[in-house]
């Protein structure tokens, strides 16, 4: 039929991992729309079974090259939960600092290299460099600040090696961290300028009524700990995550869809955090957001780029404070005897909450593992956004629609590698 169109984006660009998009349109109406994740499953939960609990943080880090801290830390927290360990304040601060590093690196990468080109009609950041080289140089420098935090504390930026259950293998010296100070001061300024820059982009006028979910902490903009809250009013400890979220297996995705048990969908990531924790943003970040025209509520998914930039301000400033306030602790980690049990961990990866649950045996071997990464939870809302974006642009050419749709997906900074490690293991026993 003449008015049947199929729009396919077979390999999404500028996302971590490989995904696809299929849209079938008939008589001016979308009939089918799938955000597909065809990256093959990697069975992490399967082979974690029988491993020593101390190995889990490093192994799960391999789920994702861009947010390994989310795994290192979430897994460590879950193990500490089992062993009854509470880390000391200096260790907690250092953890937040290295997490800030990951956010800076990831957000700078996404804002400038992966997402901004969409708003400028460019294919990539290299084309952007041709238009404005210093802009891309600044972006890379900003990204490097994040990586340097990761490297100084963790040893390397991707899959850092210094983190362990209870804290760190080795602590950075004050001298090493102080070296980051000047760059971080520059980074705060540059990220404020970034908010201004991306705030000036043109955004399609789309407002979505999301059910946001994020961590919330009394004393800070939650990154590495807190309770889970939703815009629908839920407020529960991390340990109850699975009471509220379930996973669904759809034919077009190798990643299980995470969704609320009480129906509907939920949205995790920068927009969720911003909307739920706006009051916890620091002064500088809040001012930057305001100057860019953001209110306390942002429901346009395309404005996530601005929110990400606001979060960049937040973490650059946090990192600067943490570096300045760092005092070398006496002990690099907190130890405790092994015991059997179940534990939970949850942190805010740059692209949303990343949940871990483990059960270990009395000899420390893993009996069971469950990990719910952010992109899996966002699959549903991504499809809802796409539905709206595609419908609104049906008059346009396929190429134009593809670009718009890709952009809508990139709003979520999806990490497909994360999303496809899945396997529900509790069913395997028996």
């Amino acid at each position: 039929m003449a008015d049947t169109r199929t729009i396919k984006v077979e390999a999404l660009a500028r996302v971590e991992g490989e995904g696809s998009l299929h849209v079938k349109v008939k008589d001016g109406q979308i009939k089918e729309l799938h955000f597909g994740i065809f990256e093959p499953p990697r069975f992490f939960e399967a082979f974690l079974r029988g491993r020593d609990f101390r190995e889990v943080p490093d192994i799960t880090a391999r789920i994702c090259g861009i947010c390994p801290i989310a795994y290192l830390m979430g897994a460590s927290q879950a193990m500490e939960d089992i062993l009854g360990i509470t880390v000391t304040k200096p260790i907690r601060d250092l953890r937040r600092l290295i997490y800030c590093g990951e956010w800076i690196e990831s957000h700078a990468l996404h804002v400038y290299m992966l997402h901004a080109p969409d708003f400028l009609g460019l294919a990539d950041a290299l084309e952007l460099a041709k238009v404005d080289r210093s802009l891309v140089e600044n972006a890379l420098r900003l990204k490097k600040v994040g990586n340097e935090i990761l490297e100084t504390i963790g040893g390397r930026a991707i899959h850092p090696v210094a983190l362990k259950v209870g804290g760190f293998y080795k602590l950075p010296t004050k001298k090493q961290l102080s070296k980051l100070e000047e760059e971080l001061k520059w980074a705060v300024e540059t990220s404020v300028a970034t908010v201004k820059l991306v705030g000036g982009f043109d955004f399609p006028d789309i407002q979505q009524d999301y059910n946001f979910m994020a961590l919330r902490h009394d004393d800070e903009y939650a990154i590495h700990e807190g309770r889970l809250v939703t815009s629908s009013g839920l407020d529960f400890p991390v340990s109850q995550f699975l009471d509220h979220v379930e996973e669904e297996h759809v034919p077009w995705s190798n990643a299980l869809h995470g969704k609320p048990k009480d129906g509907g969908n939920h949205h995790v990531g920068p927009l969720a955090r911003y909307n739920l924790n706006h009051d916890k943003l620091g002064k500088t970040a809040r001012a930057a957001a305001k100057a860019a025209g953001l209110g306390a509520v942002v429901k346009n998914p395309f404005q996530s780029i601005v929110v990400r930039a606001v979060e960049l301000v937040q973490v650059c400033e946090d990192a600067l404070k943490l570096v300045q306030g760092y005092v070398e602790p006496d002990k690099a980690f907190v130890d405790a005897p092994i015991r059997a049990g179940e534990g939970h961990g949850c942190t805010e990866a740059p692209r949303g909450i990343c949940y871990h649950r483990y059960r270990i045996d009395s000899d420390g071997s893993v009996l069971d593992a469950r990990i719910v990464p952010p992109t899996a939870q966002n699959q549903k809302v991504i499809e809802l956004d796409l539905w709206k974006v595609v419908q609104a642009n049906l008059a346009k050419s396929d190429d134009e629609i593809k670009w718009r749709a890709e952009q809508a997906i990139r709003n979520y900074d999806p990490c497909i590698s994360c999303a496809t490690h899945f396997l529900k293991l509790e069913m395997e026993r028996g």
Binding site: A11, L12, A13, R14, V15, E16, G17, E18, E39, P40, P41, R42, F43, A46, F47, D52, E55, I59, R62, I63, C64, G65, I66, M113, A123, D124, A125, L126, E127, A129, R133, E137, L140, R141, K143, K144, N147, G155, R156, A157, I158, H159, V161, A162, K164, Y169, K170, H249, P251, N254, A332, W403, E406, S417, L423, K424, L425, M427, E428, G430
Partner: protein
């Protein structure tokens, strides 16, 4: 001025965490200079622009885990003059090769609500198990300086300075005190290829072998020593069976323990 003819670079992904190709984007100081010397023709993580092959240099990340991967890598090989595999997944099957030691079909059947949706091989294998590879760059993830070195060497027609010797040599070069001798920590350094920059020993922990086996590793002698240092058979097995579990030397040694 007409644009110089730059070699075409493609970056491909198979089953992996993305960390190795991300390493490319982590070359903050060198990225723009690099793109002046090579033409990025296919690199989905960085650009939606796609140029047709053949490609002068292909970097391949990830392992082969589906039947469709097998077809795809053959096509990549056909399109690439030089094929360089990057990272533990591409050079040894990666962490996901731990499935090779278990029954994957069982997992899927028991676990997924719709096993028929899942199309996967029972093994995760290295790229060189399927097509000829010109250079294998190790690491989980690769070291960015090594990656630049390999590209640089390819551009300048010289041999890449990528040693195949033990991690110990690198520790000594950097003046790092041996963890195993000075603290009794289990360490795979003596059988692991150097190149990470002495990461783990520099952070007071034993090497966990993410760069895979060195040239002619004596894993049996190390395993014996680890036993003397108090490692259980299972512990020794786990050490060898992690990030490069499917590399010949580590797989075999791990199989001998536990």
């Amino acid at each position: 001025m007409p644009e110089r003819k730059r070699p075409k670079l493609a970056v491909w992904k198979f089953s992996s965490c993305d960390g190795c190709q991300l390493t490319m984007l982590d070359c903050e100081d060198e990225l723009l200079a690099l793109t002046e010397e090579v033409r990025i023709s296919y690199f989905l993580e960085a650009t939606r622009k796609v140029e047709k092959g053949p490609y002068d240099v292909s970097l391949v990340e990830g392992s082969i885990t589906t039947p469709h991967d097998i077809k795809a890598i053959r096509e990549v090989r056909k399109q690439s003059k030089v094929l360089i595999t990057i990272g533990a997944c591409a050079t040894a099957g990666g962490i996901q090769a731990l499935r090779n030691f278990k029954n994957v079909k069982e997992f899927i059947r028991c676990v997924y609500a719709h096993p028929e949706y899942i199309d996967t091989l029972t093994t995760s294998t290295a790229i060189s198990d399927h097509v000829p590879v010109d250079f294998e760059l190790r690491g989980c993830p690769v070291n960015k300086y090594q990656m630049l070195e390999v590209l640089n060497a390819a551009l300048n027609g010289r041999k890449p300075n990528i040693p195949r010797h033990s991690q110990c040599m690198e520790c000594k070069e950097t003046g790092t005190v041996c963890r195993m001798v000075a603290t009794g920590t289990a360490c795979l350094g003596p059988v692991t290829q150097a190149g990470c920059g002495t990461l783990c020993p520099g952070k007071d922990r034993g090497c966990y072998g993410c760069f895979g086996p060195m040239e002619a590793p004596n894993t049996a002698a190390l395993a014996a020593r680890l036993g003397q240092l108090g490692q259980s058979g299972r512990g020794i097995r786990r050490l060898f069976h992690t990030y490069n579990a499917n590399s010949d030397a580590f797989r075999k040694e791990g199989d001998n323990h536990g």
